[in-house]
Structures are given as structure tokens and as C-alpha cells.
Chain length 333, copies 2
Amino acid sequence: MKAGRQSVLLDPAPFLTATAAVAGPMEGQGPLGAGFDLVYRDLRAGEKSFEAAERKMLQEACSRALEKGNFNLDEIDYFLSGDLLNQTTVSGYSAAVLGRPYFGLYGACSTMALALSWGAMLVAGRFAGKVLAATSSHHCSAERQFRYPVEYGFQRPEQAQWTVTGAAAAVIGIAGESPRITAVTTGKVIDLGEKDSFSLGAAMAPAAASTLIAHFQELQRNPDYYDLIVTGDLGKVGLKLLKQILARSGYFPEGNLNDCGLMIYNPHLQQVGAGGSGCASSGLVVLGHLRERMRAGELQKVLAVSTGALHSTTTLAQGETIPAVAHAVALEM
Amino acid sequence: MKAGRQSVLLDPAPFLTATAAVAGPMEGQGPLGAGFDLVYRDLRAGEKSFEAAERKMLQEACSRALEKGNFNLDEIDYFLSGDLLNQTTVSGYSAAVLGRPYFGLYGACSTMALALSWGAMLVAGRFAGKVLAATSSHHCSAERQFRYPVEYGFQRPEQAQWTVTGAAAAVIGIAGESPRITAVTTGKVIDLGEKDSFSLGAAMAPAAASTLIAHFQELQRNPDYYDLIVTGDLGKVGLKLLKQILARSGYFPEGNLNDCGLMIYNPHLQQVGAGGSGCASSGLVVLGHLRERMRAGELQKVLAVSTGALHSTTTLAQGETIPAVAHAVALEM
């Protein structure tokens, strides 16, 4: 099944059998809003803190994914989750509520593809019949942890991105409904020296390129093998850089390459800087939107490449650079 | 290979083929000090910060594990690592240096068993021939992140534990030297409402009990199947509680149950409160000490149960409880 140093072809290919995505108010007003399973009307979702709201969203996404697939929680062999908050507490506390054997992940905004990759491997490796994979991010919990509390009203530079509020979950099964997860490419961490914590798209673009090129070369696929290739949250700046790096290696995926962070908001009506970011960016777009388009017959083959920046406020304060990683999962009907 | 809802018997059982452990000065002075591959003379390890020192230690442990097994980095299919620092930056930055496909984990102090479990499944599932699994903790980086900077001279309560400084790494291979990882039991997150951030042993004991009982029941093994069962970092308080909980379920592993946090320091000569803690507690004791004792013929079967508390300073400030998890790996010659 090993198809190269970073890529694995999954055989049998597990099914992405049920998914759900719940979104914050702004994401609900975006162009994909109608497709989400639930749109919260307020950012606190009725909870006492933004962090508690994010936990509620993650747990709601999990419940809805199970419901949509007619699964009981008890059928789930493993729960896999990660998020952006320190010590990935959204995931850890949610795991306590769910009560399933738990693999905690950290991949920053690459978590969706990381969770789908590991989940698909657990199923294809016959360690599990069904796993529940989830991730979340929240604009206000992330902003105050990584940059400034939103109440402070900080003026955001042009290259800054907007952390997506929401959560997404998927049930991956040995049997079930398509699409199937046919291949995964696990990313190497790439650090080209970016230090601007507002320019995460630039920090992550080389990692996305590294993973995409490995995927294309190892599986001997060209970009046009896929109806659509989406990166997680490169935004305007990062996507432009990615195209430049890919072009240098002879890949020109123009029409079928997009970024989830650019798809989730309306750039003319919503002020989101260079685009969306956060674990929920690829989570909501891939699990809440693209899977439906695949099932509707609009897309047959999608490559989802979630991208994550692996710094912390401590490392940036200490003058360190921003390493980044990208993981890819191939979804096919 | 599934042996129950939480346990998997690995077939073929991967080899824990090479390991290394590097330690801080206090750990070097402890009863197991002579067994570590390197003892740093100062806590900064010649680096500009404690965080940079921890990265150096993790990378050194990885280099030494590869060296001891006569492996090239290029032979490693995946690097798996996690640590305690926000956004697991020790692992992320080290992954950038190592340049191997990277799975980022978060399990707090349960990370060693989490990484060995995941790594063993990757190998047993034929997704990898060799993986490098690592973890680290550092007294000063952890104390200042979770509690107070050590320079502040805070008076520690009796139940507080001492974060172990050091790093450990293991090469897990489809072939190689024993012991083998024969079974893994993946923990559920347990939250019984503990809120004292100094009493992590108490928060983690029920999680350790949950995982141990699942392991015994699912694999139909009694505690005396093992020559030694070690928990990761329950310390004095947590180990006592664990024994009470196990006794209620009819398990009385008296002579063959110990805690890595109690083994790594000399309680009479070293002031470490209720014992050691941190990812490096089980890392150093299992990968730097017990594996050698197994290879020397002193122990045939060891069950290592790393224990982790999944809170953050944010959740504690918000009045939340401390959820915990424990993962178990069975090592057999």
C-alpha cells in the first residue's frame, strides 16, 4: 500500500461515510452557508466563553455526523481530534464527553487531513471498523490566544487571515457511503524562515507545495487527475505563492486549484483580509460542502490538502521562525 | 487483531528495536541516571532558552536512537512526536529539522505510549517499515507555562509533582531487536472533576485504572501476566489512588506495579514532592531504563501505561475540571 516515501494508497479504501459541519454566524452568511448542518446565531453559542462555545460546536458536529449516518456512538472504535487551543483542550474535553478511545492530534490547521489520514489508516489497517474524526476552530478563542482579544479592536494588516468559526466531523468506515479515502500523503514540516505571525499563508505555502509535489510524483498523478484540489487555509497570499512554487516544478493546476479559506467567505461583502484560516476552514469546506458536491455528482475526485503553521506565541516571542506542514487526502467517488 | 473495544493485539508484533534517552542534571543524579545515553550538565543545555534546550534534547534523543540501531534518518518512514508545550512546538520544530513525514500528537504526559501505540499500528498495518517515535518535557519550560516560572520561587504544595527534564526516542520496526510491542490499549478520557492543577496524579489515576482494567479484561490477562506494570507519572498520590480503584475491581497488583515518576528520583535525596511527572517521566524510565532491563533478561513482560492530564491554564482559569487519559503498550521479549 506504500506508494512512496510520503504516500500510501489505501486498500481497501475506507469510506468517508458520514460528515457534518456546524458554523459560526459569519460562515453561515458566506457563499457556502446554506450547506452547513447548523449555523450558530452568536459566537458564544449560548456558552459562558468562546472556548466553551468551541467545545459545544465540536460535540455538535460529532453528534450530527453520527446521526446523519445512523450510527450509535458505541459503534465508534476511536475518536480522533485536534484543534488550535493550547493543549488541544477542545478535543480533550470533548473526548471526555464522547467516552471513546481517543487519539489526540496536533497539526494546527492541518488537523482535518491529519485526522482523516490517521483515521483512514486505522480502518484500512483493520484496527477499526469505524472511527470518528473531528476538528474545530473559533475566531475569538484563536485570536485572543495567538494575537489579540477581538475586543481590543486591533487593526489587522492586509496579509492577515480570518480564523473560521465552526467544527466538522466525519465517520470513516470500512463500509458505507462514498466518497472513499483512496490515498493519503503525510507532510514533512517545512520552515523557510517566515516570522510574520500575520502572514501564515506565506509560511504554509511551501509546505503545501512540498506535499502536493510528493503526492503527484509518488502516485504518478498530474494535477488534472483531480476535479478539484483544495488547500486548507493559504488565503490569497499563500495560494499565489503556492502556484509560483508549483510552476517552478512544472505543475500548473490553474482551473482546478482553490483554497478553502477563499471559498468560505465572500471577499466583496465580508472583511476577512487575505481569507479564512483555522482548522475549521478545510473542515467546513471539505466535510460540509465538497463532500455534498461529490455525492451530487458534480465532482468525482477531490484532493484536500490541509495546511498548518506549527508556531506558538512563545516561539515567536523568542524570535523563532514559523514551521508549517500540510497533509493530503484523496477523496474519490 | 482487534481484541476488545480499546485493545489491539499486534500481529506481526513490531520491534522496539532501538531507543535512547537523554536527561537533565537532576534526572542524571537519580537512581536511573547511569542508564541514560546522555546527561546534560545544565538545564539550558547551552541554548538561549529552556524551550530551545528541550528541542535540543528531543533531537539528540532521536539522533542517538538512530545511531544505536545503526539506522539512517532516511530509512524512517514517519516521525511521531508530541510534548507539553503550547502547540507542541518542541515536536514541530524538531520535525522540521528531521525532515521526515510527520504525525503530530497531543496526549500530554501520555505521549510516550500514544506515540508507541500509533507507531506500532503504522508498522503492524504495513504502512511503514520503520518509524521514529519521540517525546520530551523540561522542568523549566513546563513550570513556567503551566504554573510559575521557576525563578519566582513558588512554594510547592505536597501533592505537586516535579516535571522531568529529558527526551526519549524509539525506532519501531517490522524487524529488529526485541522487545516487541505486542498489544496496545488506547485510553478513554476520564474526568471525575479534579480541579487542583497541582494534584495531577489524582486527576490521572482514574484514567490509568480505566485503561488497565480494559487491558486486563479485553486481553484476559491478570496483572501477574506482567513482570512489571508501570504508570507514567501518577506519583505517590496518584499511585495510591490507582491501587484503591483497581482493588475495587478485584485487581491487586502489589509487587509488580510501580510508577515511573517514583522510580526516576531518589525521594530521600531529591526534593520532588509527590514524584516526577511530564512526558519524559515514562519516556526516560521505559525507553532509557526498562528496555535495557528487558534486554538484560531481568524482565520478560512489561506493561507501560503513560498517563496524561489534558487541561490548559485557560481552562483552569475558567473553572473547568482536569480530564485525563492513559494509553498502554505491552512490551515482551
